[in-house]
Amino acid sequence: MRETEVLVVGGGPAGLSAAIEAASFGAKVTLMDSDLALGGQLIKQTHKFFGSKNERAGTRGFKIAEELFKELKEREENIETFTNCTVTGYYKEDGVVSCVKGEDEYFHVKPKKIVMATGAQERIIPFPNNHLPGVYGAGAVQTLMNVYGVVPGERVLMVGAGNIGLIVSYQLMQAGVKVVGIVEAMNKIGGYWVHAAKVRRLGVPIYLRHTVKEAIGDRFVEGAVIQEIDEKFQPTGNEKKLDVDIICLAVGLTPTCELLWQAGCKMSFVPQLCGYVAQRDKNMRTSHPDIWVAGDAAGIEEASSAMVEGRIAGLGVVKALGYGAPEEIQGRLEEYHMRLADLRGGEVGAKIREGIALCSVESWEV
């Protein structure tokens, strides 16, 4: 059976950072991602990132990914990378991990330590005909247009006016696709004002207190009916039919945590982090002594914090494996913790801080 010191599951910003950090101390790392390319959500982001300068604010998402790929390359003698390779299971009895390369080449790996950086999954909302092709997650629309250059459709209804809904609307327009409107169930825009202003300037109506009533179509989406709702989310009777071929759902993400459940990690439901997450200590170790977690899988946040968490998890792993000088590791950890605190500071970080407090433990060793 294949053996490795550190298995990193997921090659998004969190996993890449964990792999790079662990390899920088000489640990042998295996990085696996189910997608055809590394980079996770990051390679789909064409806009300039917000956040702190330390975490490369002002740089476009896919450019940040390129910087991480460069660092990965510099460490390549210590990092073995697999793409199109899905980690499908964890066996508690012997710590063996099952994987599938492509769709039919199964194999097993026995790692000493694991970092779970599996990112997030898109939420879906119920409405008649939501199964029709043409009802796509915002991530899927981004993949089509920003990674593969495929026109996702002609006319789009965006559902959700949070940052993702606003940013993807703008990206659609950059790709030459018409955004017919954005519906938002709340009575205010959830995303940042700058993003909302950009799409409004381009003439896209944002319908607050509106939701999708149904998708129209037989084999695929040929239209949508939107409806107004009151404070109690009940329909007011005001409806509008829109001529669209894509209904893009940007109604939130939830952490991908199946493998953590399988491994028996202690989990908590934390609404502020958008779902079930693993309880963790300060250095991202879960209740399972060989498993760490980082990034959106540990709670929906941002790429900037995902990268720092990945670095912290990577350090936690090398420390447990006995690599590196303890003072050096401690020094780096302190720096990363400061950067995280910075990212989560102020009013915008309040919700995340609350959420993290709900699933943090002082230490597992007590």
Partner: protein
């Protein structure tokens, strides 16, 4: 193919153009890119039919997590076409029902 021709920020690097078939109809797509993306560029949106209610399903998550894009590829059912790379001469078919796995026992 419905491809984005001009983008203010991105430059697309495509692989080699190859021919594959969808339900017997020859189509073109880029080698190494997801089968589902190639189909979408060719205007194909329905990838399978559900076992009981025979409802159409297509692309949804694009990250291999939702099962919506399962198709029969070179005779193998339940292939996640959103993360399976396209190859020259692939035989891609609409999946009806659960798909039959051929077992050599």
């Amino acid at each position: 193919m419905k491809l984005i021709e001009k983008h203010p920020i991105l430059e697309y690097k495509h692989g080699r153009l190859v021919t594959f078939t969808f339900d017997g109809v020859p189509m073109q797509g880029y080698e190494g890119e997801p089968i589902a993306a190639a189909l979408h560029a060719n205007g194909v949106k329905v990838y399978r039919e559900t076992p009981i209610r025979k409802q159409p399903r297509g692309f949804f998550c694009a990250i291999g997590k939702c099962s919506s894009c399962f198709m029969v590829v070179d005779g193998v059912p339940n292939v996640r076409t959103c993360i399976t790379p396209l190859r020259e001469g692939m035989k891609v078919e609409t999946q009806r029902g659960k798909g039959i796995v051929k077992m050599d026992l």
